[in-house]
Structures are given as C-alpha cells and as structure tokens.
Symmetry: C2
Subunit: 246 residues, 2 copies
Amino acid sequence: MRYFMTFSYDGSKYNGYQKQPSVKTVQGEIEKVLRKINSNKAITISASGRTDAGVHALNQKAHFDLNKDMDTNTLQNSINKLLPNDIYVKSIEKVSDDFHARYNVKAKEYIYKINMGEYNPIEKDYVYQYNKKLDVADMERAMKYLEGTHDFKSFTKAEEKYEDTVRTIIQTNLIRNMKDPYHITLSFFGTGFLRYMVRNIVGVLIEIGEGKRKSEDIIDIMDAKDRTVSGRTANPEGLYLKDVFY
Amino acid sequence: MRYFMTFSYDGSKYNGYQKQPSVKTVQGEIEKVLRKINSNKAITISASGRTDAGVHALNQKAHFDLNKDMDTNTLQNSINKLLPNDIYVKSIEKVSDDFHARYNVKAKEYIYKINMGEYNPIEKDYVYQYNKKLDVADMERAMKYLEGTHDFKSFTKAEEKYEDTVRTIIQTNLIRNMKDPYHITLSFFGTGFLRYMVRNIVGVLIEIGEGKRKSEDIIDIMDAKDRTVSGRTANPEGLYLKDVFY
C-alpha cells in the first residue's frame, strides 16, 4: 500500500532534508518514526526533492510504502505524535503503486523572504536579514526576465553534474505588504529547479537591488551559462519550499 | 553617565528576562557583555520590567551606568557584536542620572499572537498554536470590557504579593489580516500590568472564543478579585512586549 503525505518543517535545526549518516536530517527523523510504526522494519520515503540545510518547507510531499492498510487519519496522528515538533504531517492519502512523489512532479513553488528593515532576532532563522533598503522595482523587473524556458546553468552549483540545465519558470512575483514595507517575499513558480538555483538567483537579485548590477544584466548572466558570472548564494534561512504540484 | 537602550529578543531559548543564578537569561547575557566592555567590572541593567520564560520583546527598554562617556553608536555596535544573535540592541541614548527605566514607565503595550489554523512548525516558538477556530467577535467584545481602570487581581498569580492590583488598560485591539484569517493578534495598551496578567486574560479570552464562557463573564471574573475564578495561563510563546512609553 502506497501512502502520499504533505508535511511542513522548520529547517533551521536540520542538516537539510536528505538522510545522511550521523547528522540530523528531516528525512532521517521521519524514517525513524515510520520504522517504529512499521514494527521496527525500515521504511524509505521518497520526497519531491531535497531542501538544503536551514531551508524550510510549508508543503513538502513524499510517498512511502507500508505492508498494512491503515486509516490515513490514524497514521497521520501516530506519526505526528512521534515526530519532533519542528516537523508536521499535514495530510496523508493513499495513492496507486505507480505514483512517485519525485518523478511525477509537475511544478513547484519556492518563496524567499527578505527583511530590509532593522535586524529582528525573532526572525533570524526564518527570513534573510539584509537590513538595508533594496531597489525593489529593479528586482521585480529582473525577475520577469527569468520567466519562460531558459538554460539556468549559471545559477546552479558548478560541481553539480546535470545532463540538462534548461528549466521553465512559469511565474515570478515580488510580494509586498503595504503595512510593512520592509519585508518582501520573492516567489518562483516553475516546472523544475536546479540545486541552489533559487538562492543563486536571489543572490543576483540582491546585487540588482543594491544597484551593483542592472535588471537587464540577468539576461547576460543566463546567456553566459557559467556559474562564475553570477553572484553569491543567498542565505538558506529565507528560502521555503511552498508547494509541489502533480 | 547613564545610558538608556531599546532592545529586542527572541525569548524562546531563555529562562526569562531576569537574571538568575546558573540559568540562561536575557539580563544575564547583556550584563556579561557590558562587563567585557567595562574593563571587566560588573554592571547591572534596570529594565522596564521582566518578561517570563519564552516571552519575546520587540522593544524592551533598560538603563545602565558606565563610568566612561562613550559614543552611543560605538557602544551599540560593540554590544551587538558580543551579544548572541537572539538579542539585539536597537538604539542607545544618553539620559540624565535621575531617569529610571522602570520607575518612569508611563505605559506599555503587549501583543499576543494566536494561530487558529493548522499547526505550523515554523512558528512554534513565536505564536500560540491553538489550531482551531475561535469566535473572534466574542473575544473582541470581551476585550472592550477590560478597558478602563479595574482591579485585575483575578488575573495575576495568586502567590504574587501586590499592595495594589488596580491597573488601567487604555486600549485593547483584536487585529486580523483579511489575507490570513487564521492568525489574530490581541493587543493590550495600559499604564501597568501585573505578573501573568496578559496571559491570564488571554486564557479567559480563549475560553470565550471557544464558547465555554460568554463575553460578559469577564466582568464577573474581574469583580470576583479571585484568581481561581479565571482560566488557565495562556502559553508564553504568543506573548510579546511590544513597546514601553515614558
């Protein structure tokens, strides 16, 4: 029986989503709990993709197989009771055996939060504390150049070996709340993302907001297909996997 | 030379504001830093009041004396460099020697944040996770009965010895954001607050929101001047000292 779950986590205390020996990871914590529920037999979960250390998820998705047919509400409650309080299963449903939480992904949305106001200790793990004003209109203009199908090679880790670095960003948005002009949220909705792609894009967008680069420079950066021409990788704490679509 | 500072902190990792032997407190951390700046001579800071374990501050205020006349920006930067990143000094100014950060308080504002939506691990230390709907209109009505000068004995810790438990709440507000109907913020602006007063008031407001008590019941609870007739103490993580006025 295949189960498909939606879960959220605070990534600040984890060495990323993906299981690794001898460090605390989100996958590791969930599999430890599932093992207990499964009469101490190991279970591997397959998520929509990994998130890096310090990155959060509002709606991460994963599937796993259990030999027993369980009521999904009971299963959800049992898992949540055993999980640490910084990981939470929001829902579980039964799916057919050929459904795969990674291979079947149609699109994902990431958001990146920036505080341009004063340093706020309460948000230190949840927002990138830039703490200075950025030219938001220039950043928004640059984001629009990213929409469409492009080779995003300049925005992935140079060492990553991808056969194909072409991806499609369907829509970008820069969200502001007029009651709080110091916080902005950048959203990226696309059919696929390369490793570090959003944080490397945000690194360039911040340089554009600082006036160090022009909005149009982002086109040249894409065209170069070279990681060394883009900017730094923006901090992980501002990044959230917001949703995954199938 | 007397200095007056405004600072914010994430209370989630502290045993409250007030210094205590052998546990981590906000005052203890700040005084440790000031001692380093003051050639290893101890300095005591006097804050506007204490906050309990897990409670946050957006604008806490305190004064302290230094034997040297320092530039306030330099002093602020030196302190922030040495403080842990969950405490932040927002500003420092010089004040006259007869100014006292506690005795001269004219009013304070506290806010209390509640999540009536789904449990969110990202906010677990920063919002009270009630995770069910509350009747917000009834709560707002009850808050209005608190405005004015009343004896708030029913809302303080029974063991606290106060000579006088009469306080004035100038204004209350229940703040909602139409884009996010699941989060509410209760604000209390008053000339003085008893220990646990806001959290004990919120405990009763939640029971009113649950329909277990009527809005008007809050008048009877005040009239009783008896802690046992009010409700439970609401969780600390939702509470913020928002501002102090002189």
